[in-house]
């Protein structure tokens, strides 16, 4: 049982016109096996939260803490965070020329485990995971994200989630740009990882659509860099009916 704890997190980015505050004091606690949905309108700071947890250099942490079982996540490098068990499924994964999916997955697995996976078992595992996500076998020989469709990129992110077995995953708008079939396949992958490894999930989304397939235990509504309201799954249903307007009016 692990806990990811975010306390009074304040984050800004540097812009041409100076420092721009994005997160203005965020509190969130996620335990193993829990699924938390973070919802909110565009520009409310959802993705900033995701990238700050992962340690992207663009985001300045001006205050607050992120701890993983008491350890200071903010003091860790990007790769150290991954090695303690944090994972970010990105909204816009970058293309990496000349690095094949198979080489990338093996290198990442080796880095996380501290030793190379046994070749035969690993190859079989990769192949089965790809099959579960309806990915063609030739995928492994392609360069990372190069020429992938939007849906293929998202499947590739979830493939990594299943193979790398993190303790906590942040899914940054994994549902965006997916058609219904792809959304189902990707959601099944997330649910498999959740059931088999006791993964804790922070599911960031603008829409409620993905919550039909991935059932959240908690819902947090982000508005203007803060949690405006929290509740159970019923809050998501209410958002589906009412949208975010009432928060924006209050703001």
């Amino acid at each position: 049982m692990s806990t990811l704890e975010i306390r009074d997190l304040q984050v800004s980015i540097d812009t041409d016109t100076g420092k721009k505050p994005i997160l203005k004091g965020v509190d969130l606690t996620i335990n193993s096996g829990e699924i938390h949905a973070v919802m909110g309108p565009n520009g409310s700071g959802k993705s900033t939260l995701a990238y700050t947890i992962a340690g992207h250099p663009r985001y300045n942490v001006d205050g607050g803490t992120i701890t993983f079982d008491g350890e200071d996540v903010l003091a860790m490098s990007v790769d150290e965070r991954a090695r303690v068990g944090l994972f970010l499924a990105m909204q816009y994964p970058v293309e990496i020329p000349g690095v094949t999916v198979s080489n990338f997955l093996r290198t990442a697995k080796t880095a996380l485990d501290g030793e190379a996976p046994a070749i035969r078992g690993w190859t079989t595992t990769v192949r089965e995971s790809m099959k579960n996500l309806r990915m063609d076998g030739d995928f492994a020989a392609r360069n990372v994200n190069e020429g992938f469709s939007g849906g293929e990129k998202k499947r590739h992110e979830i493939l990594q989630l299943e193979l790398l077995k993190p303790k906590f995953a942040v899914l940054d708008e994994t549902d965006s740009g997916l058609d219904v079939d792809a959304l189902k396949i990707v959601s099944e992958g997330v649910n498999r990882a959740h059931e088999t490894t006791g993964l804790g999930i922070l599911l960031i989304t603008h829409y409620t659509r993905i919550l039909r397939y991935i059932k959240p235990d908690f819902v947090h509504v982000f508005v203007d860099g803060k949690v405006a309201e929290e509740g159970g799954p019923e809050l998501a249903e209410r958002l589906e009916d009412e949208g975010y307007d009432r928060y924006l009016v209050e703001a």
């Binding site: 790769d79 991954a82 990496i96 880095a111 996380l112 990372v144 990594q160 790398l164």
Partner: protein, 396 residues
């Protein structure tokens, strides 16, 4: 396409405007207006004294090249190693053989010096289908030397020829490549010389009707290595894919001047050169000239050069020139970028637990391997990837 930042660092010479490329010249002082009018001769004395200010020399370390430009060259045959391969034959032919000179004429004094000095030419003849031959030259020494290589692919043949150069050398050579109608030839010029070697290679290719040449320059070793491939697309449907990979370490000068001349209609060229520079005094030069002649309607061309700068104290020159003499083309473009690591690549890899050092290695390797992957010969690709990994090992 790589997402390397497009900030150009250390660029010495700005790219010329489309259609306005000016080049220096041979005898006389009138500037030559198009690339195809550059002075050419097999007689070194027809070229004026090299000053280092000429278009073809201005980015090269001319003083280190003097023995090859002006000196006496040993033109006798040298040891070459190659396995027996059905479908590709190798023999020495006399310098008076009628086939010599059919693909091109030297455009600089060092190439003319080599032309005037070689005694026999190495003739590599591709007549089969899908055969692969590696010719290794690893027994040269510091004696300034001239060489001539003629690679010929018969009509409708296909094959791959690797010219692998290792060890010591002070070599000026001309390589002629003749691709017959409907033939598919791949030529890899692989420079793995030792740190002191000096190598000037002018390569001239003609590509026949509906034929395809894939030409790859891989320069990893050598003190000064300058490989200048020119391709004439003189028959309809001729296609060249000109690829290059280079990795300059401290003190190394790696240069390539690439020229593609679209002469006939419906010809296609794709030029992609990628390089990495690491260490004080690492120097690379890439000049890419594409000339689309007035009869070359419906042609399609694109050239690009990308350089990844891994340390301080390096210099990469990257100069694409595009001249178009006809209004009726299918496409023409060029791109050049020299920059450092893309932080987003590193972030993505590190976010999967890969250390920064390993992530950098993967990104650099991938940046270069992306070109190697286009060769289409798995065993050779694997060997080149290993050679690149060794280069990176040294850089780390």
């Amino acid at each position: 396409m790589s997402a390397v930042p497009t900030t150009t660092t250390d660029q010495a010479v700005a790219p010329n405007q489309h259609g306005l490329a000016q080049h220096s010249h041979g005898p006389g002082t009138a500037p030559v207006q198009t690339r195809s009018e550059r002075f050419a001769s097999t007689d070194p004395s027809a070229f004026p004294e090299v000053t280092g200010r000429e278009a073809e020399w201005k980015l090269s370390p001319v003083e280190r090249l003097r023995p090859l430009i002006d000196g006496e060259l040993d033109g006798s045959p040298y040891a070459v190693m190659y396995p027996e391969v059905e479908g590709i034959s190798v023999e020495w032919i006399g310098r008076d053989d009628a086939r010599i000179g059919s693909a091109g004429t030297p455009e600089d004094k060092a190439a003319a010096n080599a032309w005037a000095s070689f005694e026999h030419a190495l003739h590599i003849s591709v007549t089969g289908e899908g055969d692969v031959l590696t010719v290794t030259r690893n027994a040269l020494d510091e004696t300034p030397r001239a060489a001539h290589v003629l690679i010929e692919a018969a009509a409708q043949s296909s094959g791959l020829v690797v010219l692998d150069s290792q060890g010591a050398a002070q070599l000026s050579e001309n390589v002629e490549i003749i691709v017959g109608d409907d033939a598919q030839l791949t030529v890899v010029s692989l420079q793995e010389w030792n740190d002191e070697a000096i190598h000037l290679s002018s390569q001239f290719a003609t590509v026949g009707r509906n034929a395809k040449l894939k030409h790859i320059v891989v320069s990893l070793g050598g003190g000064v290595v300058r490989v200048n491939p020119s391709t004439a697309l003189a028959d309809e449907g001729a296609d060249v894919e000109a690829l290059g990979v280079y990795f300059a370490d401290a003190g190394q000068h790696l240069e390539q001047q690439v020229f593609v001349h679209h002469i006939a209609p419906h010809t296609v060229s794709r030029v992609t050169y990628k390089g990495a520079l690491n260490g004080a005094g690492a120097r690379t030069v890439w000049i890419g000239d594409v000339l689309i002649g007035r009869d070359a309607t419906g042609t399609d061309s694109y050239e690009q050069n990308r350089n990844l700068v891994l340390s301080e104290g390096t210099r990469a020159d990257s100069i694409p020139n595009l001249e178009i003499e006809t209004g009726d083309i299918a496409g023409a473009g060029h791109a050049s970028a020299t920059g450092r690591f893309d932080d987003e690549h590193l972030f993505y890899l590190q976010s999967r637990g890969i250390t920064e050092k390993e992530a950098r290695r993967l990104v650099v390797l991938g940046f270069l391997v992306e070109v190697v992957q286009r060769i289409g010969e798995p065993a050779l690709e694997a060997r080149l990837i290993e050679a690149l990994e060794n280069e990176l090992e040294g850089a780390a």
